[in-house]
Amino acid sequence: MKKFLMLLLALLTVMVIAACTANEDAGEDPTDSEEPDTTEEGTNDDDEDATDDGTEEKVLRLNNGIEPSSLDPSIGFDAVSWDPLNNLMEGLTRLDQDSRAAEGVAESWDISDDGLTYTFHLREDVNWSNGDPVVAEDFVFAWKYMLDPETASPAAFLGYFIEGAEAFNSGEGSADDVNITAVDEKTLEVVLEAPTGFFLDLLTNPAFFPINHQVAQDNPNWHTEAESFVGNGPFKLESWEHDVEMVFTKNEHYWDADTVKLDKVHFAMVNDSNTQYQMFESGELDTASIPPELSDELIDGDNVFIGDYGGLEFYRFNITEEPFHNKNIRKAFAYAVNRADIAEYVVKNGVEPAYGFVSPGFTSPTGSDFRDENGDLVTFNPELAQQYLEDGMAEEGYNELPEIVLTYNTSDSNKAVAEALQSMFNEHLGVEVTLENQEWNVFAEAQQNLELQFSRSSFINDYSDPVNFLESFVTDSYMNRTGFSSAEYDELIEKGKSETDEEQRWEYLYEAERMLAEEMIAMPIRYYNTVVLEADGVSGILRHPVGYFDLKFADKN
């Protein structure tokens, strides 16, 4: 009897399991038929594809992490939008293989002697992916659209170098007063507010990309789907399954199409560092980032690309509050930090310790690197730190430092750095620092309102010029967040932006950075870098220190 029951149950189990597998298939049929041609090939049969096909299509598989915020070049103001956009579109200038602004849509330009008027001559043979010619009016349309307060573009401030732009964006001026003119179909004239030595660099940012004004006027949502997307870059948007994948194909209308070697690029959207690494391991992706846990193991591999990335991790002092209103106490903290140890043992991933504010990778007019030229501005020196602390405490009449709270936004790596700092301050200064972490948004707001005493920060360059970071600390800048205000510094930055003699302009910037270190309103920790795993055969991906990668010269064998 009991045996019979068992047998029956065993049978039932088998039946149910069978039914359940059948069910699983049944449930998936719809997806299967909906997307027959997309990621199916992403699995193991990938390699076979390449060899079986006589055509040898070159397909690169990348991971964009998440869905781009927007492929409207005026709106998408983050790396996940810039990386695709930089390959789908092109501005007047484009960063070349040395990461310098070179000819893009513009084949040449004239700059007036006062450095204010730029006249761009567009190539005769530049076309949109729908076949329309790219005309000067497309730039006028795009830039005025970006600056329109109604558009609410997060990138609009980049355009303030243009005459009338700030007034228009703040709602005080009008679009007609923005000094951009389409002289004729292929000539664009831009008048700047003040001479801006890095204006051509600035133009490589997607915020300055053209928009096909005829398409955009017909359909304001042209950028939301692959079917309606019109670009002018090396690739065109073949398909875009939101939150899943974008597929780019070579754009035969691109003026330099002969240079482009890849036929197709897949941008997956996998937002888990382990998963994307596993996909790289199993051949489903050609490039991947290194998961933090595997850093030690993988960082020295042959297939690892390590490059500069314009950005700095640093800590801000709130100089409106005790005890950091005192310069010597700020310096004491800055000199007590062993940055080499933090870079090597805490952050890892091949990052460089920061002994200055401006990250390496900015080439001066004389050909040297900004960082080399200005040297180390803060070092690890416990004795000096101790000395500064004593001086500072004497100046303020402290017997004991007021309580110090170091705040960071919640994340594992920020926590590790904060803890390392805590122990260094304790060891080298004998100061107990309390750690506090806050959720990003809470933290950002508190830092903005100067409610934090000593807090973590990061900076990522928007354009390729040292002034981009340095101007954060001018009086009342939205990015200041330290309470620092110095007329002398403001003036240095003003000159560092508008001086027409490039060498002299850089001299002002060197001086400004030295002043930042002298005042020590923030202490640098380490520079960012780009670390990417690349599969065998992948070559030629340009990863510029500022911004976005470029697949124009990329190849895969």
């Binding site: 359940c20 699983e24 998936e28 990621t39 997060p154 609009a156 939150d243 809470v442 981009n468």
Partner: protein, 310 residues
């Protein structure tokens, strides 16, 4: 019955309104703004953004705007992905989460009940220990650990299944396994304990005495009663799993709606927070309602109408 339904409907709407109001209050009281990011910005840009999304308006106007968006079911554009409306996001994500969820539920319920019955019938025997062993593991191993383990073993080492993404039945196996184990274990334990209780009841002895086959005794008399607690947890379970799970969807890069629950709050993406909250609450309320109906069907002693008098 009709009156009862109408009354329930009214209560549902009121519940939803309370949830929406509470969410709004919580939402505006947490510090931060959707426009805080690592990127450079300035006051003018911030002001333009706030105006664009009506965040410069007083709270009571914002509240009314939200109520209006809910009433019309047009939640407006997401702040994080300005070219997508909340309706787009949910409309795209929900079917995928639902598909994953429904398969998971079927797997979990069927295997959970079988494990539970097996364990109860062989109480304190080897099968019981094995089944409960599986159940304990299922409850105690978090699904993200299981997911990573499955990827490492079955996808990377054995290459049986793809690592991630969502496009074919093959892609479905690992996430379903990872997601189903927990609920399966809970259901197995519930089924086992009630089954044990039911099996000692007089009416089971009676049924056996009547000479019914063991199959009939279990399926018709015992199981039906033993399922009541399972039905009770089904409402929440269904709502939870069908609307997507953040971790599993993230690990397997499944484009479901699970991520919006968590990320919208991190990003202070107010329209998405509202959209997901309303959607989830409405879904949960409906599921609980269906569960109440299911009680009546499973146990004729529970009459929906009776509840009305209470």
């Amino acid at each position: 019955m009709l009156r009862y339904m109408l009354k329930r409907l009214l209560i549902m709407v009121i519940t939803l309104w309370i949830i929406v109001t509470l969410t709004f209050v919580l939402m505006v009281s947490i510090p931060g703004s959707p426009f805080n990011s690592d990127q450079t910005s300035n006051e003018i840009v911030q002001a333009n953004l706030e105006r664009h999304y009506n965040l410069d308006k007083p709270y009571h106007i914002q509240y009314l705007l939200y109520l209006k968006s809910i009433a019309t079911l047009e939640f407006g554009p997401s702040i994080k992905q300005p070219n997508q409306t909340v309706n787009d996001l949910l409309g795209r994500g929900f079917p995928i989460s639902f598909e994953l969820g429904i398969v998971t539920i079927i797997v979990a319920v069927v295997s959970g009940i079988i494990l539970g019955i097996l364990a109860a019938l062989r109480h304190n025997g080897i099968i019981d220990y094995m089944a409960m062993g599986i159940a304990v593991l299922g409850i105690s191993i978090p699904n993200f650990i299981l997911a990573t383990l499955l990827i490492q073993q079955l996808a990377v080492n054995l290459e049986w299944f793809p690592v991630a993404t969502w496009s074919s039945p093959k892609h479905m196996v690992l996430p379903v396994l990872a997601l189903a184990t927990g609920p399966m274990a809970i259901i197995a334990r519930l089924t086992r304990s009630t089954m044990l209780e039911v099996l000692t009841q007089d009416y089971i002895k009676m049924a056996r005495a009547k000479g019914l086959t063991p199959w009939k005794v279990i399926m018709k008399h015992a199981l039906r009663n033993a399922l009541m607690p399972v039905v009770t947890i089904m409402g929440t379970l269904l709502a939870g799993i069908l609307t997507g799970t953040f971790v599993i969807e993230q690990i397997f890069a499944i484009p479901g709606m699970g991520k919006y629950f968590v990320e919208s709050i991190n990003h202070r993406d107010y329209p998405v927070i509202m959209g997901t909250t309303v959607f989830y609450s409405a879904f949960l309320i409906i599921m609980l309602f269906l569960v109440d109906i299911a009680y009546g069907i499973l146990d004729p002693r529970i009459k929906v109408n009776n509840k009305e008098g209470e």
